[in-house]
Assembly symmetry: C2
DNA sequence: CTGTGCATGTAAATCGTTACATGATTGC
DNA sequence: GCAATCATGTAACGATTTACATGCACAG
């Protein structure tokens, strides 16, 4: 699923402008996928060319003109076909966790700070998910929200309960260096 | 942290060939970062140019020649400097979860199959982590392993306990369609 | 006799972000 | 006055993957 197909998917939920699609990426696909204007607008132009979406211009007096996109029947069919494909495996990349392999090069304070910030980062994630999903959203979206919260809560718990394992290690290094 | 710096980091743990570094990505950075030969070899050549690693050729009779890389003092310093930087935020992208937003386009069987495969995928992840981290590895690596297992276990639990939320939804659609 | 492991590398293609370009409006 | 929101787009750049190119050894 690339930006192109996700734009198509978002348009199955209702007409939208490129700007609104970008917001949908932030709201509905929150923490799951992000896309910049630099990828959304070209995708939308290409989809229009291929007749998978149609576009009507709305002139506005006090704002720049809008281009409102709607998915076509052909677009809907293409998207449903895309959904049939086997999903690609998840991709996860964490700078913080990769750094932790090399904690022996860091001071205890640095490790502590890194862990604190990582925990805080996950807590912010949870807040963003909770406020974004309370009440509003389809059952599927609530399910996904709950998933995000469950996984991040587990991460926080693990970090809090086991951080001493790598902090203690650094302590020893500090002591040994004296 | 790009491939370049991770190669440097892996070389702080001992000399290695490009081929062995690739394996280290799979073993030590398992599920955290992957890199292909197409990125490792050019990175190693560049690092050699910059004198951050040194390279000695080992001719082998029954195998192609090896190039064994060692990190230099300058390389070690550069890597430690890199570690001081604020880590970039995590990146997570899941095709499967993104697909789930659009479960209303899928049949109940498809949803069930997708969930089964996703759970199985996480279970395989956990097996890979467990076998890879039992006994061997530094405390930091064991900590990371434990983290991976904790997070994935939570994911599996959530999926098992809440899958009915999106499966039930599909049921209703099927029934309504009759 | 076929697949897997060892071993290195290049070039093209992919997919995306960042920065740039433009400009009005509204809230603090 | 300054930041944020609305609104669209292009071009350059970046990082990495994929496919290609080559080749021997060993196990099943």
């Amino acid at each position: 699923m690339d930006v192109r197909n996700l734009c198509l998917g978002i348009l199955t939920l209702g007409d939208a402008t490129g700007y609104e699609i970008k917001k949908a990426f932030q709201d509905r696909l929150n923490l799951l996928y992000d896309a910049s204007f630099g990828s959304i607008y070209p995708a939308l132009n290409k989809l229009t060319e291929e007749k998978l979406v149609s576009c009507r211009a709305e002139t506005q007096t006090k704002r720049p003109d809008k281009k409102v996109y709607s998915i076509t029947e052909a677009g809907k069919a293409a998207f449903i076909k895309e959904l049939q494909k086997d999903p690609l495996p998840d991709k996860f990349r964490s700078d913080t966790l990769a750094t932790m392999i090399f904690t022996h090069f860091l001071s205890r304070d640095q490790i502590t700070r890194m862990l604190d910030e990582y925990i805080q980062y996950y807590e912010e994630n949870i807040n963003a998910l909770s406020t974004g999903c309370d009440l509003k959203g389809s059952p599927a979206e609530q399910f996904l929200c709950g998933f995000g919260v469950a996984v991040r809560s587990a991460a926080i718990n693990y970090l809090k309960e086991n951080r001493h394992l790598i902090e203690a290690e650094a302590q020893q290094v500090d002591t040994a260096a004296e």
